[in-house]
């Protein structure tokens, strides 16, 4: 879209063919990039292409020749008002005010909360926000900027997605109050804010955060049994703060600019959990160390990716039988019947991991299962990542039968990364990794004692950037 607005500004008339349900998004992005009256018309999601083109070709060309209206000739400045005090009244009146909704037309056609995630919020009175700000040494009027080079350059102002707005420390604190956070949670919320709180496109729909380092214990986060479940007064509000910041600071509205066709339970109420650093096998790095921080430094990993959970592929009792004495279905499949473990239980998962999708996973595993991997020879997470990457390889003939690579390879016109050759030059039996890089996979230790591994879909970084933010920088 910035490209089209650049062309219009350069005096080149344009027309966009979009899909009808995405008109609101086109309008909003056109305004963001300074040409609010861009001309567009929809193609059909269902008609056969030839019939569709017959229907829209003449109206499309007419948009290139029809003289401009007075409105389309206008220039000016888009500058929506911004105020510090949004509402004055009793707490009861404020509760009604902050719960206000607006009707979002199709493809949603339902009321959507304007300032909240749909649930009641803690009203951000001046006094509560002031108290919240005691959780950081940063000044209330300080703009949120990148604290280190990463997805942005250190010192640059963070633009909150999708509207690319900016925010001060105080505005983040307002959202932390509404989410139900305590002042000691604010450094984590500010670190999460540094991510820009994206909500993705039509397909990258799940957002979750994982905190690594001593801060997790300090604020009482749950990294044990049920760490993804409700109940923690630290995990829950910090996770919720992400979503409220996406809604309020970023301006994300379903059906307008948050086009997740179905969405993800990760985003309902928000998702934040902590790594159990004490459960790491000897020599395995925590997330903080994986990203170059020290063990005593605290960070938050912020993921925005295709979000669902796979797991429960084996029974915990079956797992124990497999490891203790080589009995049960897992042992039969792995051909270690009667042979005591430890065995590589990841082998059991591999056949289904990439059967239906490509890309990395985040493996959340309980400490015991990580220890088994260590005992069979994986002395670091990197060794596991490398092993998984090798296991993801499949013949090109098979890889061609997948959907996303049509786009990822630019219609098979690009270069295959491991060979450096054009896709069309490679033989059918060339082994293609279904995961781009070994470290697209991620291991997090957490959960209770029951032998469970859950796999969260989606690699950890987008476009080679590390979505990791220092919490200590925001204390």
């Amino acid at each position: 879209m910035p490209y089209i607005t650049k062309l219009e500004k350069a005096g080149i008339p344009t027309v966009i063919v979009d899909l009808e349900d995405q008109h609101e998004m086109v309008k909003q992005v056109a305004l963001q990039y300074g040409v609010p009256k861009l001309r567009y018309l929809p193609a059909s999601r269902m008609l056969h292409g030839e019939k569709d083109v017959e229907n829209f070709i003449e109206p499309m060309l007419e948009l290139l020749t029809r003289p401009l209206t007075d409105e389309e000739k206008e220039s000016g400045m888009y500058m929506p008002p911004s105020q510090r005090i949004l509402f004055e009244g009793t707490l009861e009146e404020a509760e009604i005010f902050y719960q206000q909704t607006r009707h979002v037309p199709k493809p949603l056609d339902a009321p959507i909360a304007v300032y909240t995630d749909g649930l009641p919020v803690v009203i951000p009175t001046e006094e509560r926000v002031e108290k919240m700000l005691e959780g950081t040494s940063h000044k209330p009027d300080e703009l949120i900027t990148y604290q280190r080079d990463g997805i942005g350059k250190k010192g640059d102002v963070v633009r909150f997605l999708p509207m690319e707005r900016t925010a001060t420390v105080e505005r983040v604190a307002v959202n932390a109050v509404t989410a139900g956070c305590k002042p000691e949670h604010l450094p984590a919320v500010l670190a999460i804010a540094e991510s820009g709180c994206g909500t993705g496109t039509t397909t990258f729909w799940g957002q979750w955060c994982c905190i690594s380092g001593p801060y997790a214990k300090e604020i009482g986060m749950n990294s044990g049994v049920g760490m993804l479940d409700p109940g923690s007064p630290a995990n829950m509000p910090v996770g919720r703060a992400y979503q409220l910041m996406a809604i309020n600071l970023g301006g994300a509205v379903p059906g307008v600019n948050r086009m997740n066709s179905i969405g993800s339970p990760f985003n309902s109420g928000g998702t934040c959990f902590a790594e159990n650093a004490a459960g790491l096998p000897s020599g395995w790095k925590g997330l903080n160390e994986e990203y170059g921080f020290k063990k005593d430094e605290s960070i938050v990993l912020v993921i925005n990716s295709g979000g669902y959970i796979v797991g429960n592929q084996f029974s915990p009792g079956g797992y124990r039988a497999f490891q203790k004495s080589g009995h049960g279905g897992m042992a039969r499949r792995m051909d270690v019947k009667g042979i005591p473990g430890p065995h590589n239980w990841l082998e059991y998962l591999v056949p289904q991991l990439w059967a239906g999708r490509e890309g990395g996973y985040t493996f959340i595993m309980v400490p015991e299962m990580a220890q088994h991997l260590y005992e069979i020879g994986f002395k670091s997470k990197d060794e596991v990542y490398q092993w998984l990457w090798e296991k993801s390889k499949e013949p090109l003939k098979q890889y061609r039968l997948r959907s996303w690579p049509d786009e990822g390879t630019n219609g098979w016109l690009g270069i295959e990364r491991t060979s450096g050759k054009h896709w069309k030059e490679l033989p059918d039996d060339y082994m293609v990794p279904v995961v781009d890089e070994p470290t697209d996979n991620c291991i997090i230790i957490g959960g209770g004692d029951e032998e469970i591994c859950q796999q969260l879909t989606g690699r950890r970084g987008m476009l080679g950037t590390a979505p990791v933010f220092s919490i200590d920088a925001w204390r």
Binding site: Y3, D18, T166, T168
Partner: protein, 92 residues
């Protein structure tokens, strides 16, 4: 006793001012013009579109750049100088 009145703060982000521009003047005719088709995926639509444009509008000098991703292949600054209009299909 009257209930306490609270000042409640705005949770929304700040939209930086955006200078807005008019649309570029439209073409008086298609004939003789160089019109660029910027293709971004959806070959089911864009292949018949390009084919029909070229067959039904032979007096237009059609140019084309193709991507299978949502990001178009940009015209160079030089190409922009000789391009009279652009069709972008399909934005998704």
């Amino acid at each position: 006793m009257a209930e306490k009145i609270y000042k409640c703060l705005d949770p929304t982000g700040t939209q930086l001012p955006v200078k807005t521009y008019p649309l570029a003047p439209r073409l008086d005719t298609l004939d003789g013009k160089t019109i660029h088709i910027s293709i971004t995926g959806e070959p089911d639509i864009t292949l018949p579109l390009e084919k029909k444009l070229r067959s039904d509008y032979p007096n237009v000098n059609w140019t084309q750049k193709k991507s299978y991703t949502p990001t178009p292949v940009y015209l160079t600054e030089e190409e922009m100088k000789t391009t009279d209009a652009v069709i972008l299909a399909v934005t998704w």
